[in-house]
Subunit: 338 residues, 2 copies
Amino acid sequence: MTKPLLTVLEGAEVKCPPVWLMRQAGRYLPEYREVRSRAGGFLDLCYSPALAAEVTLQPITRFGFDAAIIFSDILVVPHALGQGVRFEEGHGPVLDAIRDRQGLSGLSREGVTERLAPVYEAISTVASRLPSATALIGFCGAPWTLASYMIEGGSSRDFLEVKRWAYGDPDAFAQLIDLLTDACAEHLGRQIDAGAEVVQIFDSWAGVLSSREFERWCVAPMQAIVARLGDSHPGVPVIGFPRGAGLGYEAYGLRTGVTAVGLDTTVPLPWAVEAVDAIVQGNLDPALLVVGGAPLRAEISRIRQVVGDKPFIFNLGHGVVPQTPPENVALLVEWLRQ
Amino acid sequence: MTKPLLTVLEGAEVKCPPVWLMRQAGRYLPEYREVRSRAGGFLDLCYSPALAAEVTLQPITRFGFDAAIIFSDILVVPHALGQGVRFEEGHGPVLDAIRDRQGLSGLSREGVTERLAPVYEAISTVASRLPSATALIGFCGAPWTLASYMIEGGSSRDFLEVKRWAYGDPDAFAQLIDLLTDACAEHLGRQIDAGAEVVQIFDSWAGVLSSREFERWCVAPMQAIVARLGDSHPGVPVIGFPRGAGLGYEAYGLRTGVTAVGLDTTVPLPWAVEAVDAIVQGNLDPALLVVGGAPLRAEISRIRQVVGDKPFIFNLGHGVVPQTPPENVALLVEWLRQ
C-alpha cells in the first residue's frame, strides 16, 4: 500500500494532502498524560523504548494521521554529547550552560549513538506496529537551535549569550556547530536505519538571526546535513523547519537541498507555494485548533484552495498546544479529508 | 538649524544617516540606574515629568544622538484606560488580564489624556532642553500589541488567549482594537501638541500572527491611526515598527501610510530598501552592540554600503539590552559619523 506522505514527498499528486501535526503526541491527549505520569521524568519517557513507542502511536490510533513522528526531544543530542539536561515541570528545559571554548571540551562525540540507542529501538517498535499507509518520521534539532539551548542553558528571550559567542568568536562557535552537524547527521542516519522513512530537522530559533548569520549558522549546516544524508541514505526525504525565517525561507529552500520545508504560522502561504523551491508543509495557526468550529473550518478550506493540486503536507505552523481539545483535532482530520 | 532625522523623513539627502537607538535611555546606563533607584516604581518614573525628562536627555548628553525618544512605556495607555498594570523587578509587566467582553466594560476612554498629562509635560520639558539639531520622538504601542498584553496579562509564549479571542470572537475583539486605535491616535496627537516632532508606533508582537490576521489586526488599525494623525496633525512623520512581520513588511509599507518603517534584525536590509515602500530604519542586531569591536564596525560599514545614499535612519533591530557596554554605543556613533 502506498503512503500518501511519501507520495507527496516524491512530488506526485494525491487526492487529499497528507496530514500530521507537530507535537501530535503530547499533553493535550489524556492517554499521553496517563503514560507520562508513570514514566518518571520527561527524559525517562524519551529513553524508554516501550513507552516512547506507545505515545508515538497514540495519535495514530485516535486520529489516523498520515504520519507518526517518533516521540523524543531535540535535546537528547546535547544530552548524549555529555551535557547536563533536565526538564523541570512548567519551566521547560534547563541545561548546564556552556559558556566558552573550555566548555566545549566537556562534549564528546564518542558513544553518542550508543547513548541514543533507546530512540532507535522505539523507532523499530513503532515501525513494526504502524498501519501500512502511515509513514514514520524521525527528527532532530538543527545545530543553531541546539547550540542556542546549550549556550543559553534553556529558552532565551534575547539569545544574547549564543549571539555573543557566534558574533564575537565565530571560529570557536563553528567548532560547536560542526560537532552538532556531525552528531545530527549520524543521529538521523541511525533513525533511518531503524525504520524512519522521512526525517525532519527543527530549527526552532532560526528566526532570531540577521539574514547573514542565518545563512552561516542555519542554511550552511543544514546543507551539510542534507548532503551527508544524501550520501549515507540516498532517497530519504528531509523536511527542514526554520521557524521564523521569514524571507530566509527562500534561500533555505534554494540552497539547503531539503525535500520540503515546514512553514511557521507567519509565512503567507500564497507566497511560499510560489517562492520556496521545495515542497511546503504547514502552516495552520495552532490557536485555531483551540478555537475550533467555523474559524478552523474556514482556514482549512482556504489552505486547500491556496495550494490547489500542488504537492503539500498539511500541518500546523508550530506544535499542538496543551489547551487543544482533542475533538478539534478529530474534526480537522475529518474536514480535511472530506 | 536643520535636524537630520527630520530631513531624512522628508526624503531628502543627508551626508550621514541620523542615528538613535530603541531603548537608548535604559538600564545599560549608570546614570539611568541612579535615577531609577530614586524614582520608586517603574510607572512612577514614567509619570514623573522631571525624572522622565532627565532620563530622556541622558543618552543625548552622553552620545549626541540625532533624536531623543520620550521615556515612557507602551503600557501607560492600558493603564490610563483603567487596567491594572504593575512592573515587577525582573519579571516584566503584569496586567490584570481582560478575558472576555465583560472585561472590556471596565475600560474607559474618558479622561485618558488627562491621566497621561505627565507624559506631555515631560515632552514639553525635553523639547525646551534639546540641542537644536536633535529631534524629539513621541511613541505608543500599536493596538494589536497592547491588546496582547491586556488579554494575556503580560508577556506570552504562545499568545493563545489573545488569539483565542481574536479568532473566536472577532467582533468583540474589534471593539477593543477600535478603542485602542482611538486612544493611541489621541495619545500621539497630544504628544505632538506638547512638542514631539515624529512619532513611532511599536507593534512588538506583529510577528506572531498569520498573514491574514496581520492584515486585519496590525495593518488596518495602523492605517487608521496614520489617517487620523494626517487629519489632526498633518505633516508629522510616523514611523511604524511591526517587529517580526517578515514578508508582511511589504504590505505594511504599502498600505499603512507610514513615513518610515523600523526593521527588526531578521529582515534582510538589501531586500527591504528595495521592496518596502517607505523610508527604512534599523536593523543592527543589539547583540553586536554587546560584542563591540571589529564585528560591530564591520556591520556598520555593511549597513552603510547597502543603503548607499537612500534615505535611512540608523538604529537597532530591537532595544538596547542591559548588558550593553556604554562605550560600545559611543564607538557606534563615532564610527557611523566618520
